[in-house]
Subunit: 186 residues, 2 copies
DNA sequence: CAGATCATGTAACTGGTTACATGATTCA
DNA sequence: TGAATCATGTAACCAGTTACATGATCTG
């Protein structure tokens, strides 16, 4: 998948500028894109060239000139037919697994510190996400069902991190069990 | 993070060829790399240039000529100091979220089909992972603790998918609840 | 001897990030 | 007037994939 379908999805509830889209990506924790200029503006040019979005230049209004993009019927068709393809599985990249692969390189205390540091990272991010969730401020568009789905989309990152935290607990238990075993059978 | 540290981690329990490493990446579900040639061989050249691995050419043995790579003390140091950096959070890319963003484009039946299709994808992959786990065949190297950690590393993808399945259930409930509400207050 | 596997490499491309560059408008 | 924000774009790079290319060796 590329960012193109995400942009089209943002546009189904009304026109937006590149700058608007960029901000949406930057604010949205559940979408992995950072919303960097290069990708957003280039993709918009490409979507415009292929007729999936329409562009309207707004020269003189309040504020600097901007280009408003809206989805075209062809764009809606493209998005709809993508929705009817087989959904692909989530792709989770976890560098902590690579660190665990090299556990034999660490002294016991260092391994404990690594695990504790990761636990702390997870804890902090979860607090941040819950805080963000609590402060709300999601003025999402679309039908009541769509708004409810947005709530669940925004919940997703925390669900993933909680699963990671639970898995990390099993790692901690395994390390302790292994050490207890080693003390009994030296 | 790049694939370089994963290669170094594979090498701490003994020398391997590019081909060996490629296979390890291809077989390992928990590491997101496909083990494509370009990346593995180029990274090995780079690691060799920077002195983090040593290369031994094996011209005439049984089998075709191959290059055996082993980690150097400098490589171990590099890996160890990376292990002591702040571990970064997992990066989960889930195109299903983007599909849900566009739910308003779908008829109720189509949304149900999308959710069911994703559920089925998750179910199939989980069965595949459990089967792979059951068949075992993990001749992993290192200390008993390291082998135990490998078991947990290999468990990780299934843990993520189970969390995804649980989250998807909440999506299903929300859709049904929303529709029931809409029927009561039309 | 044909097809699978072992083994190494390159070319072309997609996807994504950081940093650079520019200029208008708003507000303290 | 200077900093923040709005707004659009480009250059250079890193990460990762598919497909192409070659040749040796093993196995039925």
């Amino acid at each position: 998948m590329s960012i193109a379908f995400a942009i089209l999805a943002f546009l189904i509830h009304g026109p937006l500028s590149g700058y608007d889209l960029k901000k949406r990506f930057a604010e949205c924790e559940s979408l992995h894109w950072t919303g960097n200029n290069n990708q957003v503006y280039r993709t918009l040019v490409h979507l415009h060239e292929t007729g999936l979005v329409a562009r309207e230049d707004q020269q003189s209004r309040e504020g600097p000139a901007r280009k408003l993009y809206s989805i075209t019927p062809a764009g809606e068709d493209a998005l709809r037919s993508w929705l009817q393809e087989e959904p692909d599985l989530p792709d989770c990249r976890d560098s902590f697994l690579v660190r665990l692969m090299a556990a034999d390189l660490l002294a016991p205390g260092e391994l404990d510190r690594l695990i504790a540091a990761y636990e702390e990272q997870l804890r902090m991010k979860l607090i941040m996400l819950e805080e963000k969730q609590r402060r709300g401020g999601r003025p999402e568009y679309g039908s009541p069902l769509q708004r409810e789905l947005w709530r669940l989309i925004n919940d997703h990152p925390a669900a993933v991190l909680r699963a990671e935290r639970d898995w990390l607990l099993t790692v901690q238990w395994a390390v302790q069990r292994q050490r207890a075993g080693a003390r009994e059978n030296p």
